[in-house]
C-alpha cells in the first residue's frame, strides 16, 4: 500500500472512532428521545429496548395538553426574551467603552465585571428574594426574575461582546469622526453594524441560558400560571415518579427550541464562546 492510501485509511479509521465517541457522549440525549416514545410499561422492560416497538408519538400531544405546556413555554420565552433584551441593550454599550479605552479605570471596570460573572445564582437568590420582597417587586415575579437574571448574564455578555468590539479596526471609527459624524453617529452607523454578528451570537447564547434558567424562577415565582418550563419539569418529576416516558416527552419539547438554535448556529456559537472565555 502506498503512503497516500495509508493516509486515507487512517483518516477513515479516525472518523469512525470519532463517530463512536460522539455516539457514546450523546447517548443520554438519544435515551431521552427513545424513552419519550415508549409506552408507560415498555419503559420498565428488562432488558431495555434501544428502539420502541411502536413509537408513541401521541404522548407528546397528551403531555402538551395535560401539563399545560403552552403556558410553561410561553413563560420561558417571556423570561428569556426579556433577559436577552435588557442584557443586550445595556451590555453592548458597556462592552464598547471597555473595548475602546485602555486605562486604570477600564481595568477596574473589567475586573468588577469578571467578579460579578462568577457569583452563583443559588447563593445570590437569598438576598435578592429578601430585597425584592421588601421593595414589592415579587408582586411581578417574572419581572423580578428577568432583572435578577439580567444582572447574572450581563457580565458574560460584556466579556464576549468586548472581544468582538476589539476586532473592529479603530481607524474606521476615526475616519467616520473626521467625516463629521458625532460619536453617537459613528458608533451607531459604523461600529455597531461591524460588530453585529458577534453581538447577535452572544445575545442568542444569553437567550439559551435564560430559557433554561431554574433557580431564580423556582424561588421567586410561586403561582404556577407564571412559572417557566424548567420549574414545570421539576414539579412534574416529583420524588416517586414513574411516568418517565411522559417526563422525557416534556423534556424533549422543552429543549426543542434550544436544540434547533444550536444546530443552526453551531459553528458561530462555538467560535463566539471560545473567543470570549480565553481570548
Amino acid at each position: 500500500m502506498n503512503e497516500y492510501g495509508q493516509k486515507i485509511w487512517t483518516s477513515r479509521l479516525l472518523l469512525i472512532v470519532a463517530l463512536g465517541l460522539a455516539v457514546i457522549y450523546l447517548f443520554p440525549l438519544y435515551w431521552m428521545f427513545v424513552t419519550s416514545l415508549k409506552t408507560g410499561s415498555d419503559v420498565f422492560a428488562t432488558p431495555p429496548a434501544l428502539w420502541p416497538k411502536v413509537p408513541q408519538w401521541s404522548t407528546y400531544a397528551e403531555v402538551w395538553q395535560s401539563k399545560n405546556m403552552a403556558r410553561y413555554m410561553g413563560n420561558s420565552l417571556y423570561i428569556a426574551t426579556g433577559t436577552m433584551a435588557i442584557t443586550a441593550i445595556l451590555g453592548t454599550g458597556c462592552a464598547y467603552v471597555l473595548a475602546r479605552y485602555r486605562n486604570m479605570w477600564i481595568d477596574i471596570g473589567l475586573f468588577l465585571v469578571l467578579m460579578l460573572q462568577v457569583l452563583p445564582a443559588s447563593l445570590m437568590v437569598t438576598p435578592l428574594f429578601v430585597g425584592f420582597n421588601q421593595i414589592g417587586l415579587l408582586e411581578l415575579p417574572r419581572t423580578a426574575v428577568i432583572l435578577a437574571l439580567s444582572a447574572k448574564t450581563m457580565p458574560f455578555f460584556i466579556i464576549l461582546v468586548r472581544a468582538t468590539f476589539m476586532a473592529v479596526p479603530h481607524e474606521l471609527e476615526e475616519a467616520a469622526l473626521v467625516d463629521g459624524n458625532s460619536r453617537l453617529g459613528a458608533f451607531w452607523n459604523i461600529v455597531l453594524p461591524l460588530a453585529r454578528n458577534g453581538i447577535l451570537v452572544s445575545a442568542i447564547l444569553i437567550f439559551m441560558q435564560a430559557f433554561g434558567e431554574f433557580v431564580y424562577s423556582k424561588s421567586m415565582i410561586q403561582t404556577s400560571e407564571l412559572q417557566p418550563a424548567s420549574v414545570g419539569l421539576n414539579s412534574f418529576m416529583g420524588p416517586n415518579t414513574n411516568e418517565w416516558n411522559k417526563i422525557m416527552a416534556f423534556a424533549m419539547m422543552y429543549v426543542m427550541p434550544i436544540l434547533g438554535i444550536f444546530i443552526l448556529l453551531q459553528r458561530r456559537i462555538v467560535a463566539g464562546l471560545t473567543s470570549g472565555a480565553l481570548k
Binding site: V43, L114, L119, L184, F214, M237, M248
Partner: protein
C-alpha cells in the same frame, strides 16, 4: 443644558453614560444584594422581620451556630469532593478528547462542535435524563454495568448514601466535559506545529513531547480551564435539584444547595445568607486566579 446634551452625543459624556447605565444596573441587582447578603449574615432574620430593614444584630452568632451544627462539616466536605471529582473528571476526559480531535480527519471540527450540545442544555433537563439513566431498578446504566459484568447487584445511585453524591458528579462530568474540551482545543491549536516536528526529529517520543511541549505551553489555558471549572462547579444547582435534592440524609448535599434549602425550604434566611457569604468568598478567590491566568488575553 445644551452643552450637556452635546457632550452626551459627542464627548466624554457619551462613553460615561454608556458604561454608567450598565454599571448602575449591575450595582443595583448584583452589588447591592452582595452587601445585603453579608449584612443579613450578621442579623437575626425570621419570617416576622423579613419585611423590615432593622433587625436585631447578632454579630458572629450565625457563623457560630452554623459550625456548631453537626451536618455542616460533612456538607462542606461533600462540596470539596464534588468540586474536585467533577473538575478532575471533566478535565481528564475533556483533555483526552481535545487531543484526539487535534488529529486530522474529515468532519473533525464539526463533530467536536457537536459535543457542545451538552453544555447548552438546560441543567434541569440534563438532571432529569441522568435521574432516569441512574435509576436503580430500571436504569440503563445499571443494566449496562451488569451485562458487561462490572456489578452483579443493582446500584441504587440516587438513594444509596454511598453513591448519591457520585450520581450528581457523573451527571456534572458529562455536562462540563464538552466545554473543557473546546477550550483546551483552542489552547492546543495555538501551539506551533514546528516545535513538535523539531522534537520528533531529535527523537523525542510521544509521551516526552506531551510532557515537555504540550503541558508547559498549555499552562495558561489549563489554569483558565481549571478555574473556570471551579467556578461552574460551584454554580451547579440544577443537577442537585433534579437528581437527589441533596438527599438522602444530606449525603449528596453541597454548600450551594444547602444555602438555598436553608432559605427556601426552612425559611432560615440568616443561615442561608451565612453559607452564601462563605461560598462567595471561595468563588471570588477562584475568579481572581482565573482573571490572573487569562490576564494577557483579557487585556488584549
Amino acid at each position: 443644558m445644551r452643552a450637556l446634551f452635546s457632550s452626551l452625543r459627542d464627548g466624554k459624556g457619551f462613553d460615561i453614560s454608556l458604561i454608567a447605565i450598565a454599571m448602575v444596573f449591575l450595582i443595583l441587582f448584583s452589588g447591592a444584594p452582595l452587601v445585603y447578603n453579608a449584612i443579613m449574615s450578621f442579623q437575626e432574620v425570621d419570617i416576622f422581620n423579613l419585611g423590615t430593614f432593622i433587625r436585631p444584630w447578632v454579630g458572629l452568632d450565625n457563623y457560630r451556630s452554623l459550625f456548631a451544627d453537626p451536618s455542616t462539616l460533612p456538607i462542606f466536605w461533600n462540596t470539596v469532593v464534588f468540586v474536585f471529582s467533577s473538575i478532575a473528571g471533566q478535565f481528564i476526559v475533556g483533555f483526552g478528547l481535545a487531543l484526539f480531535f487535534t488529529l486530522k480527519f474529515p468532519g473533525a471540527a464539526y463533530l467536536r462542535g457537536l459535543f457542545l450540545v451538552s453544555w447548552v442544555m438546560p441543567g434541569l433537563v440534563v438532571g432529569a435524563i441522568w435521574n432516569w439513566i441512574l435509576s436503580g431498578d430500571f436504569g440503563i446504566l445499571n443494566h449496562f454495568l451488569k451485562s458487561v459484568g462490572f456489578i452483579s447487584e443493582n446500584i441504587f445511585w440516587r438513594s444509596d448514601i454511598n453513591y448519591s453524591l457520585w450520581a450528581v458528579i457523573i451527571a456534572n462530568i458529562w455536562l462540563g466535559t464538552a466545554f473543557n474540551m473546546i477550550l483546551l482545543s483552542v489552547g492546543l491549536a495555538a501551539i506551533p506545529r514546528d516545535v513538535y516536528e523539531a522534537a520528533e526529529l531529535d527523537g523525542a517520543t510521544a509521551i516526552q513531547r506531551f510532557r515537555t511541549i504540550t503541558l508547559p505551553m498549555m499552562r495558561a489555558t489549563i489554569g483558565a480551564v481549571v478555574s473556570l471549572g471551579l467556578i461552574f462547579t460551584l454554580q451547579q444547582f440544577d443537577l442537585f435539584a433534579a437528581i437527589t435534592s441533596g438527599g438522602p440524609a444530606n449525603s449528596s448535599n453541597v454548600a450551594q444547595y444547602k444555602a438555598w434549602e436553608m432559605s427556601f425550604r426552612e425559611y432560615d434566611f440568616a443561615r442561608g445568607a451565612t453559607i452564601s457569604v462563605l461560598m462567595i468568598v471561595v468563588v471570588m478567590i477562584a475568579s481572581v486566579i482565573y482573571v490572573r491566568s487569562t490576564k494577557q488575553e483579557v487585556r488584549g
